[in-house]
Amino acid sequence: MPGEDGYQHDLLVIGGGGAGLRAAIAAAEESNRLSIAVLSKVYPMRSHTVSAEGGTAAVMRDDDSLDTHAKDTIFGSDFLADQDVVETFVREAPGEVIQLEHWGCPWSRDPDGRVSVRPFGGMTVNRTLYAADKTGFHMLHSLFQTSLKYEKIVRYDEWFATSLLIEDGTVCGVTALNLHDGRMRPIVAKAVIMCTGGAGRIFPFTTNAAIKTGDGMALAYRAGVPLKDMEFVQYHPTGLPGTGILITEAARGEGGHLKNKDGYRYLQDYGLGPPTDTPVHRKMELGPRDILSRCHIQEHQKGRTFDGPYGHYVHLDLRHLGEKLIDKNLPFVRELARNYVGIDPVHEPIPVRPVVHYMMGGISTDITGKTSLDGLYAAGEAACVSINGANRLGSNSLTELLVFGARAGRSAARHALERAAPRSNPLAQLASDERRRLDQRFLRVDGREKIADIREEMQKAMESGCGIYRDRATMEATCQTLAKLRERFAHISLADKDAVFNTELIAALELECTLEVAETVARSALAREESRGSHTRTDFPKRDDARFLKHSLAYRTPDGPRIEYLPVTITRWPPEERKY
C-alpha cells in the first residue's frame, strides 16, 4: 500500500487473480517508467484462479497444431468465437505457458523432463498442461510470488473498487474503499484494467467462490461499456451435490466414467459413443461441457439418475484408474471427495451433478483488451474478448487469462505512457461524493430488506429461468423478479454501521453488482431466440445462424439492459453443424 502521497499511478489493475497479476507483470516488463498498482478486495492468493483444477491448453507437441487448437475452440464455441481472436490466442498460448514454466510453475512432467499434456473435453489431441489437479492454485501462486520481485508493482490488498472515475470520456481511476479503515479514496490512474473474474454467485449452485460477484463487470456496465454474450453460462457436468465443489474434468481426461443409477455409461445414448475402455478424444466423457450437462438433465427426465437430499445426481467412477494414478494425477479430487462427501474415489464412485461454473460473456473488449471506454481495459473471465463464444472448452480459460492478461497489460501500459496524468483534485471531490452516496444508501437508512433474502431470491430466479434449459415464459418471470429485486434493493438495511472491516457493506455492494449482472444474463438470454452452445431454448431448439450468428451486447439503461448485436468474425472456419 502506498504512502500518504500515493494513490496516483500510471496503471491500475482491479483484481489480483491470474489475469490481473499477468497484466501487472506484463506492464512492468513493458516499461520500467510505469507506476503499477494492483487493487483487490482480497489478498491476491485468495483469488478464485486458485480453485481451477484441470489444466491449461496450449499446443506443445508435434502431434498437435495451432490450427487444430483453433478449430477445436471454434467448434466448441458453436461458431460464436471471433476467429481472428482465437488464432491469436492459440499462437500466443505456448509462449505464455513456457513463460510460466520459467517463473517456476510446477507443471507435471514426463519422464524425459518435458511438461506433460493430458486429454480434455472437446480437444482432439492431448494439449492440456497441468500441475496434478491444482493447476490454478500453482499458476496463481507462481504469478503472485513472481510479481513480488517487481518492486514497482504496489498493491492495495483488501480494497473494494466502488466506481470508475471518468473525466471527458476517459477513465482516470476508481473510487475504492479500504476495508481496513473504511475510508474511501480516489485512486488515480491513466489506465484501468478490469480483471475481477466471473459472476457465478448470481446462481445458487456454483463452483465459484464467494467473491465471484461480477464487480468489475458491473462497474464497466455502469460506466456505459456493454457486456457481451452474457446469456452464455457454462454448467460444468461434475460438481459435488450440496456444496457445488468442482470435481475436475481431468478426472474424465484420466479415464473416469459417468454412470447412471443402473451403472450404465449413459452418454452413449446421446450420440457420444461408442464407449471404450480408454478415453477417446471428444467422445463419451470427453465430450464438451454444454452437451454433457444437457445429457444429465435428459437422463434425469428418463428417471435414470439417483435422488439425494441435494437433488438428482449421477456417478463419476474412477475406481478402475487405481489408487496410484489417482494419487499422482488427481490427489485433490480424492481429498475433496473424502472431505466433503465422505467418499474415497479409490473405492467408491463420486456423486456429481451439473453446476454453474463459468461466464463465457463479460466486458466487451477488442483483441488488445481495450473496451469502448477510453483508458479502460479488461481481461480474464471478467472480459469477453471472444474466444469462448457460446461454450468454452475446458482448460482454455487459464490460458486465456495468461494470453489476454498479458495483452491487456501491454496495451494499457502503452496507453498510459502516452497520456498525461489526470488531475487528482476534482477526483478527491468525486471520492467524497461516492462516500456520501454509500453512507446515505447503506449506513444511515433503516430499510426493511435483508441482503440474504434478496440474494437468495435472485439466485432462485436465475436457476429457474437461466439454467441449462430455458424458455420464454420462465425467462420473462425471471426478468420480472429481477426488476422487483432491484427496487427492493433500494430499501436494504444494514446492521453494521462500522468503518473497520465492514463485510456487510461489502456484501451489499456485491449484491448490487450481481443484480446488475443477473439482469444482463436474463435479458440477453430472452432476446436470443435460438439454441447455441450453453444457451438451450426448448422453444427454439435449433441454432439459427441467419438471425443469431452474432454477439449480444447489453447496454445499461435506467429501465434495465438494452440488447444490441455485433457480427462474429469468421476467418477460415465457416459455420457447420456442431456434432461430436
Binding site: R46, V50, I451
Partner: protein, 249 residues
C-alpha cells in the same frame, strides 16, 4: 438444547466499541454436513450481520478462512460441526496475530516476510521463452513439490510457539517457500536467500516443536523444511571452514 442445534462461542472485537475481545454465543441449526464456516454464514445472514470474518472458496484451497476452533488452528471450511458435538464450539481469530476485527487478523507481517525470502525463480541467466521450457524430471519435481503446496492460510504461524514469543521469526510458511525454491532444479537463488534464512530470526530460531506440520491442512511439513534448511546452513558453515575457497552446493 435440542439435538437440532449447536452453540458457537464466537470471539467478537469491534475496534472503537470494545476494549478487548469477548465471546458471544450463537445457537445455529445442527446439520451433519455443515462446516464451521456454514454456521458462521448462517449467523451473518440470519442472526447478526455485523459478524466479520474472511472466506471465499469453501473448498480448502484459497486459505482465507483459518481460525482457532476449540483452540486449534483450522480451515473453517474443512472443520465439520459433527466433529465437535455436542458443543459448544469455540471460534476465535488465529492466535499470534493482531486482530483487526472479530475473526479477521492482520497479515501484513507475513506478506512482508514472504517477499523477504524471495519466493521466485532466480537465475544468473534467464533463458528466452523462444528456447522453450527447462527440462525437469518427475524426480526433480518431487524434491520440492510438497513445499509448493502452501496456501498461505497462516495456520502454522498460529500454531508456532516461537512466532508467538518472537514475532521477528520468519516463520514456517515463508521458510518452506524459500526452501521450495532452493530445491527447484531451475533455481540458482540459494545464496541470495541464505542471509534471510540463516539470520537469527530465520531457521535458527525454530526449536523444532513441529506444531506447524501438525496443523498444516495441505501436508506441506514446514518443520522438515526448517530442519533441512538448518542442516544445509550448517553444512555450508562447515564447508566454509574446511574449504575457505568456497564449497559449492
Amino acid at each position: 438444547m435440542s439435538d437440532a442445534t449447536i452453540t458457537l462461542e464466537v470471539t467478537r472485537y469491534r475496534p472503537g466499541h470494545d476494549r478487548e475481545p469477548h465471546p458471544q454465543s450463537f445457537e445455529v441449526p445442527f446439520q451433519k454436513d455443515w462446516v464451521v464456516l456454514d454456521a458462521l454464514n448462517h449467523i451473518k445472514d440470519r442472526i447478526d450481520g455485523t459478524l466479520s470474518y474472511r472466506w471465499s472458496c469453501r473448498m480448502g484451497v484459497c486459505g482465507s478462512c483459518g481460525m482457532m476452533v476449540n483452540g486449534v488452528p483450522k480451515l473453517t471450511c474443512a472443520a465439520f460441526l459433527r466433529d465437535y458435538r455436542p458443543g459448544p464450539i469455540r471460534v476465535e481469530p488465529l492466535a499470534n496475530f493482531p486482530v483487526i476485527r472479530d475473526l479477521v487478523i492482520a497479515l501484513d507481517d507475513f506478506m512482508e516476510k514472504l517477499r523477504r525470502v524471495k519466493p521466485w525463480i532466480i537465475r544468473a541467466e534467464e533463458k528466452p521463452v523462444s528456447e522453450g521450457e527447462y527440462r525437469q524430471t518427475p524426480a526433480q519435481l518431487e524434491t520440492y513439490k510438497q513445499f509448493s503446496m502452501c496456501i498461505n492460510c497462516m495456520l502454522c504461524y498460529a500454531a508456532c510457539p516461537v512466532y508467538g514469543l518472537a514475532p521477528a521469526f520468519v516463520g514456517p510458511a515463508a521458510i518452506a517457500l524459500a526452501y521450495r525454491y532452493n530445491l527447484d532444479s531451475r533455481d540458482e537463488g540459494y545464496r541470495l536467500r541464505e542471509p534471510v534464512m540463516s539470520d537469527a530470526v530465520g531457521v535458527w530460531e525454530c526449536t523444532f516443536v513441529g506444531e506447524c506440520s501438525v496443523v498444516c491442512p495441505k501436508g506441506v511439513d514446514p518443520a522438515a523444511a526448517i530442519q533441512r534448511s538448518k542442516l544445509a546452513g550448517a553444512t555450508d558453515w562447515l564447508l566454509s571452514m574446511v574449504m575457505p575457497w568456497g564449497g559449492r552446493r
